[in-house]
């Protein structure tokens, strides 16, 4: 099947229901997208599909053929993505960092959609888990982008 990932078309030979996460990690070798739970609970595997933050561990590859898939590796190709990354760096959000690819992409999707989100918007969009507890810094970083 053909998948459009990070602006390029990739021919991948996998079973159609292989989770997109493992296609990205094992067929394309892009390891910034993380496996955390495999059941769409934690969000470490978040990618953007047509701009929507999506948990790739529970997304069959054949369900996204033809859609535009973007991973953390190209997040800085967009203006919002660049600003989110800079905010993450400025605020020193990451601790262990394992969830942060997903957090950055979730924030990019939110801020692309709603440039000036309310607290409720942030609560609704930023649902990825972080075991290090960087949640307050995540919120501050999102705020710093919307207020810039």
């Amino acid at each position: 099947m053909q998948l459009n990932i990070n602006g390029a078309t990739h021919d991948v030979d996998v079973d159609p229901d292989t989770p997109l996460l493992w296609v990205i990690r094992e067929e394309l070798g892009l390891t910034g997208t993380k496996y955390g739970c495999g059941i769409a609970q934690c969000g470490a595997c978040t990618v953007l599909i047509d701009g929507v933050a999506t948990r790739s561990c529970a997304t069959p590859a054949d369900s996204v053929a033809g859609l535009e898939i973007r991973t953390i590796e190209t997040v800085e190709d967009t203006e919002i993505g660049r600003r989110v990354v800079e905010a993450w760096v400025e605020n020193e959000v990451a601790q262990c960092g394992y969830c942060q690819s997903g957090q950055v992409l979730a924030a990019t999707a939110l801020l692309s959609d709603i440039p000036d989100p309310t607290d409720a918007d942030i609560d609704g969009a930023m649902t990825n888990l972080c075991r290090c507890g960087t949640y307050n810094k995540i919120r501050a970083a999102v705020r710093s982008v919307s207020e810039a």
Partner: protein, 731 residues
């Protein structure tokens, strides 16, 4: 301190010696010898002759430095802190450092002959050594310049990265001096900086890993790629002690796409395949017959955590004294107001977001390379050698930055995947990366033990007069390092080691073995015992008609440090106001207070809660933390945020339940951890009392839970003695 003391004792080592004399007399000579800056060419020659080049510090000709940290980075900011400390004494800006983990073996056992990343020990044990390292290297650079210029070293000074001769105006960059400096003898006792002159220690320098971690470029063990490797997934026996008899559909599975083979392991079945997902799909399809086998800690088939809690509550047996003062029994017998309570706290999973993995590769010369997360490299190498039938010297361990740890990556029999990866690599004759699914991680994690304590206390008009506590159970330091009852801090800390003045106390432990494979979880014994103690202290205050904050203050009259800390947390919260009171948003809220003395530091916490739809909501947490002295205040603040998050999480929602010998939760759907919308605001005050440097990673956690629970009691009248709060109805 407890874990470290026990480890040191077990390993036959002296306690951690942080004096300069100890440094020089012990591993110091080696450390200093390896502090010699290396010429690039010479460095390559050494590397060719001896692959395990062990050196803390390399100065490069471009003026940058490579520092090998004895402690692994897992988000706590230790690489940055180490660069700050060395840079301070070396007089080289920390931004010019790259830091990597020091390899197993060599001179890196700076904790008294060994090292591990844990016990909130890294900065405090690394501090004196890293300062010595930096100042020795600086002295050698100065001496090199002095010889080149024909002047006395005493005439020279340094600016960051540069040696300066004020008299002649001559300057030389460190990078240009590195080659000459390496041939010089190592100075015996170069002077350390006056802390008043510190340029970087004590400042909020940015962490050096944040950009890589914000762009997906940080690699972890799970991302390791080795040429020619196969991927493996496995299924463990539902209980330790069972073993696989057969895989009834093995032929079918081995015919599945990408599958290399099915492999029987000790208490597990693995599938090895070209890709992990292929292995995962195949193992999920496996039909396995399990039969009774053998295990060091077999899990009883009928084991339930609820029944085990009741067993501990009723346990009798020898009460081994841990601490005692005055006459607790006599005072309790004659006191007017005596109360009793039993507290318990559940098993908990580590829940680090990176699932465990290990990659093993046997080389043609019979040596073994391993890639994995670990908090104690030398111990892991020893265990790997035993598993592989090799000498430790034949094993190269590639330690990986940790995707969370919280105690998960210590050496626990049955909880680490590397022995299985070794067995699989041996079986298939190719490198193998084994990844445990989240479900297998929950099944074979070494959880924080379920714990229980029975309290009796007497209180008079001026506060508690007697306290008798029996802590029932087993701590991880007994399990893994044979600390006997009464001498295992992990079994009682947070009930023992408190600072309040109570004239008559008796703290004892009744040992009761824990059927689960228990482990260290962030703040270890403190993670539950301070909840129990501080909750009961509030019960005593209530029974005595005393304010819990004022009562604690009066019990700290002998300690200026603790009084200061408690007053400080009161101040930053706007003054102690227990409530209940109405907040601006119309919710009714209350506040609770608690203290803890964990890992060489002191903490005081106030939490503010409300109840919404029958569930407790934590709005704000104020933390005053006194680690004595601080290297990087922004890292400390981040660790407090993290500790509050985990402390709130365990208090509100976390509980690993066992039924029929198995955990009922195998993933984050059935084992919730704190969500973003449950995170309280955190207000931190760092108090540098000047006391000996204490830990930072864990000390913010233990007082959070009891502060929340005490606030809940004030708000609802319900005294919670069993965590988590989510199993109680506050509707």
């Amino acid at each position: 301190m407890g874990v470290i003391d026990q480890l040191a004792r077990r390993l036959g080592q002296a306690p951690v010696n942080v004096s300069r004399r100890g440094f020089l007399a012990g591993s110091g000579a080696l450390v200093l010898a390896t502090a010699l800056p290396l010429r690039p060419v010479r460095g390559q020659e050494i590397a060719a002759e001896a692959p395990a080049v062990t050196a803390f510090l390399e100065l490069r000709s471009d003026g940058t430095a490579l520092l090998r940290s004895p402690f692994i980075e897992g988000g706590q900011g230790i690489f940055t802190a180490m660069a700050q400390i060395v840079g301070e004494e070396l007089d080289l800006a920390p931004e010019n450092f790259s830091v990597e983990i020091a390899p197993a073996g060599g001179p890196f056992g700076i904790m008294g002959g060994y090292r591990l990343t844990g016990g909130s020990m890294s900065t405090r044990t690394g501090y004196p050594v890293m300062r010595q390292l930096g100042t020795a290297a600086r002295a050698m650079l100065v001496e090199a310049a002095a010889r080149e210029w024909g002047v006395e070293a005493s005439e020279l000074t340094t600016e960051p990265g540069v040696v300066v001769h004020e008299g002649s105006g001559r300057r030389a960059a460190y990078g240009d001096l590195a080659a000459a400096a390496m041939d010089l003898p190592v100075p015996v006792s170069p002077a350390l900086k006056d802390p008043a002159d510190f340029r970087w220690i004590g400042t909020a320098l940015p962490r050096m890993d944040v950009r890589a971690k914000s762009t997906g470029r940080q690699n972890y063990a799970i991302d390791v790629e080795v040429e020619g490797m196969l991927l493996a997934a496995l299924r463990h026996a539902p209980r330790l002690g069972l073993m696989p008899a057969s895989v009834t559909n093995q032929a079918e599975i081995e015919a599945m796409r990408g599958v290399h083979s099915v492999q029987m392991l000790d208490g597990a079945v693995a599938v090895v395949a070209e890709k992990f997902w292929q292995a995962r799909r195949a193992i999920d399809a496996a039909e396995i017959d399990w039969i009774e086998g053998e295990a060091q800690w077999p899990m009883p088939a009928g084991f339930s955590s609820a029944a085990f809690r009741d067993t501990l509550a009723g346990a009798t047996g020898e009460v081994v004294e841990v601490e005692a003062s005055g006459d607790a029994a006599g005072t309790l017998q004659s006191a007017d107001m005596v109360i009793e309570a039993t507290y318990d706290a559940p098993y908990m999973a580590h829940g680090q977001l990176e699932p465990p993995s290990a990659t093993a590769r046997f080389n043609e010369d019979g040596t073994l390379d391993l890639w994995m997360p670990c908090q104690a490299p030398e111990m892991f190498v020893g265990a790997a050698a035993a598993a592989a039938g090799l000498e430790a010297s034949q094993i190269t361990l590639h330690q990986q930055v940790l995707g969370g740890f919280f105690g998960r990556h210590f050496l626990y029999a049955t909880a680490n995947p590397f022995p299985q990866a070794i067995a699989l690599a041996k079986a298939v004759g190719r490198p193998v990366k084994l990844i445990w699914t989240r479900e297998e991680d929950f099944l074979r994690d070494a959880p924080r033990p379920l714990g229980l304590a029975r309290f009796r206390g007497a209180v008079g008009p001026d506060g508690p007069t007697a306290l008798q506590v029996e802590v029932v159970g087993e701590g991880p330091t007994q399990r893994w390092y044979q600390a006997p009852p009464g001498q295992d801090p992990s079994a009682t800390e947070g009930i023992s080691g408190k600072t309040y003045a109570i004239a008559n106390t008796h703290i004892g432990q009744i040992f009761h073995a824990n059927p689960a494979v228990i482990g260290y979880w962030r703040a270890v014994g403190h993670s539950m015992h301070d909840f129990m103690y501080e909750g009961f202290l509030d019960e005593l205050a209530q029974a005595g008609g005393l304010d819990p904050f004022e009562m604690r203050l009066s019990m700290l009259s002998g300690s200026e440090r603790h009084r200061t800390l408690l007053e400080r947390v009161g101040e930053i919260s706007g003054g102690w106001t227990p409530g209940p009171f109405e907040a601006e948003d119309g919710t009714t809220r209350a506040r609770g207070v608690a203290m803890a003395s964990p890992f060489g530091s002191e903490a005081a916490v106030i939490a503010e809660v409300s109840v919404d739809g029958g569930e407790v909501r934590v709005h704000q947490v104020w933390v005053a933390l006194d680690p004595g002295q601080v290297v990087n205040p922004s890292t400390v603040e981040a660790q407090v945020q993290s500790a509050v998050a985990l402390g709130t999480s365990q208090t509100l929602v976390e509980e690993l339940v066992y039924e029929n010998g198995e955990p009922t939760a195998r993933n984050f759907d059935m084992y919730p951890i704190l969500r973003p919308d449950q995170m309280p605001q955190v207000h931190t005050a760092i108090v540098e009392s000047g006391a000996p440097m204490g830990g930072v990673g864990e000390p913010g956690l233990p007082a959070v839970g009891p502060a929340i629970v005490n606030a809940v009691a004030t708000l609802t009248g319900q005294r919670i003695r069993s965590l988590p709060l989510s199993k109680h109805d506050f509707g």
